[in-house]
């Protein structure tokens, strides 16, 4: 029996939880989505959904992990019952599938940091060509390996010596870097126009349901709520650790970083960009890299007439991006290896298996961006279903019993009120159903061949891959149970 490792302090747990949620989505997806959805008009629903999607799910995940001391499968069996272990299996599978391509994205960030340090990124006259040369070479595979090796090394060191220590350093540095970049960006001449756009709501966008659905999607993808990652870290919470305040810090902390990143990007692009700044922020580019890996490096190289100043700011930007990506990847490796070790496999062996499988399954995404986009579409969408499954587990257990016993139980600093019952019982399932229907129906309209499952981002590829995984897990349910029922 392996000795249970715990987070040694509350701040270690909070910074590690922030490490889960603060990822590349805060820096490169958030600004793009704000630009596409009317600036300040997007921010209003985005704040509302923090309260009615993200924070309630974060609270629930903390409670599930803390009380079951198991990964998602064991947590579901213990909470919803033995019939529903497959739902936990779905959550574990989806986050692991995301890990396969997220390691590739982390590798991109590492490479751009390396290219900045070596001077080649600032020296290039054509940033699009620089990206094309990189993405069509074997370098993404090599950097995918490096990213997974670093993440696995941290997880191998354990929770207190690895995950906690690394997150304490990286997330603290990340906050410092973001604040330095924010001060520099908002003090650029012309930055005020970017900030004005970022904070100005427009009635026509506020009345558009698509803006609201995009705001909900951003919360579902960006805060780490519903991924099963918080559930996994919560396994290592001490018994007398609080849930409600920690969950609130995680939700507000994540969105604080998004807000700062948005202000940095809007200020920089409006101050330094030529042409239409909005189209430059909102353009996706290849694999949605347009803003972060092509346009921003170009702008950073014109930040000032001093090469040293430009070098410094470009370096700390890619350092922040790499830290954000790595801390999220670490949590994904931990979730996958914890789920494996729950079946009796030695934890260290499980981590090595996960790292090698992760590398192997990441190769197609590293070599073919269309494959990466396909996986991002299929498993990104699947997270919404994961959120619905988590609320189902609580409903099955009894929402009030869950709130009073597991959330407001031992170690609780602030008791959660009955508002939680309403959100989990009604609002989360309704939001999940609406989002899934909206995204799937939209995917029918944007692809004429929507019934062809071998296309990159359409209806059939999503339903096809989901069905294979859901049916397999459902059929394996009895076998999954065997490992947990006897405990």
């Amino acid at each position: 029996m392996e000795k249970q490792d715990f987070f040694t302090s509350r701040w270690g747990l909070i910074l590690s939880a922030l490490g889960i949620s603060i990822g590349t989505g805060n820096i490169w997806r958030f600004s793009r989505i704000v630009a596409q959805n009317g600036g300040g008009s997007f921010l209003i629903p985005w704040v509302i959904f923090l309260f009615i999607w993200s924070i309630p799910l974060i609270i629930t995940e903390f409670a599930l992990g803390k009380n079951s001391r198991k990964g998602p499968i064991g947590s579901f069996i213990k909470t919803a019952g033995s019939k529903y272990g497959w739902m936990g299996g779905w959550i574990a599978f989806v986050s692991t599938a995301i890990m396969f391509y997220y390691a590739v994205i982390t590798g991109w960030c590492f490479y751009y940091l390396y290219a900045t340090l070596s001077g080649s990124l600032l020296a290039t006259p054509d940033h699009l060509q620089f990206w094309n040369q990189f993405s069509t070479s074997n370098l993404p595979v090599i950097f995918n390996f490096i990213a997974l090796a670093v993440a696995a090394f941290v997880v191998l060191r354990g929770v207190s010596n690895g995950i906690e220590k690394v997150n304490k350093v990286l997330i603290s540095f990340l906050f410092v870097i973001i604040i330095i970049l924010l001060i520099r960006a908002v003090s650029l001449p012309g930055a005020i126009e970017g900030l004005k756009y970022f904070f100005t709501p427009k009635a026509e966008y506020l009345l558009d349901y698509k803006v609201w659905l995009n705001a909900l999607t951003q919360n579902a993808w960006d805060t780490g709520a519903g991924w099963g990652l918080i559930m996994t870290y919560a396994v290592y919470m001490r018994k007398n650790e609080d849930i409600s305040i920690n969950a609130a810090i995680m939700g507000f902390g994540n969105n604080s970083v998004s807000l700062m990143a948005g202000m940095i990007i809007f200020s920089t692009v409006f101050a330094l960009g030529s042409g239409d700044p909005l189209s430059q922020i909102s353009q996706s580019g290849p694999a949605n890299t347009g803003l972060t890996l092509i346009y921003l490096p170009k702008l950073f190289s014109t930040l000032s007439s001093s090469y040293t100043v430009n070098y410094f700011f470009t370096t700390i930007f890619f350092l922040a991006l790499s830290f954000a990506a790595l801390t999220s990847l670490i949590s994904m490796v931990e979730l996958a290896s914890k789920s494996l070790s729950d079946f009796g496999i030695n934890k260290k062996k499980a981590i090595i298996i996960v790292a090698f499988i992760g590398f192997a399954f990441g190769i197609p995404s590293a070599l073919d961006i269309k494959f990466l986009l396909n996986q991002d579409w299929v498993w990104g969408m699947a997270l919404i279903l994961s959120g619905a499954f988590i609320s189902f587990a609580v409903i099955k257990y009894g929402v009030d019993k869950f709130r009073m016993g597991l959330i407001n139980g031992e170690g609780c600093d602030i008791k959660i009120g009955k508002w939680y019952n309403f959100i989990i019982k009604y609002l989360i399932p309704v939001q999940a159903i609406v989002l899934i229907i909206w995204w799937l129906s939209s995917s029918i309209s944007w692809d004429k061949e929507f019934l062809n499952p071998f296309r990159s981002e359409n209806f059939a590829t999503c339903v096809f891959q989901w069905t294979i995984v859901l049916v397999s897990l459902f059929l394996l349910n009895k076998k999954l149970n065997k490992f947990f029922i006897n405990e």
Partner: protein, 40 residues
């Protein structure tokens, strides 16, 4: 009024998000201090 709209929205949004973050961090510090003094 329109000139001040972005400023008003900025104060509200930043106030809720950053203010919420600062509020909960300070609340957690307060509870941690209380727990430590209780243990002592």
């Amino acid at each position: 009024m329109n000139d001040y709209l972005p400023l008003i929205v900025a104060i509200i949004i930043v106030g809720i998000i950053w203010g919420g973050f600062a509020f909960f961090v300070s609340t957690a510090i307060k509870f941690e201090k209380r727990k430590k003094s209780n243990n002592a």
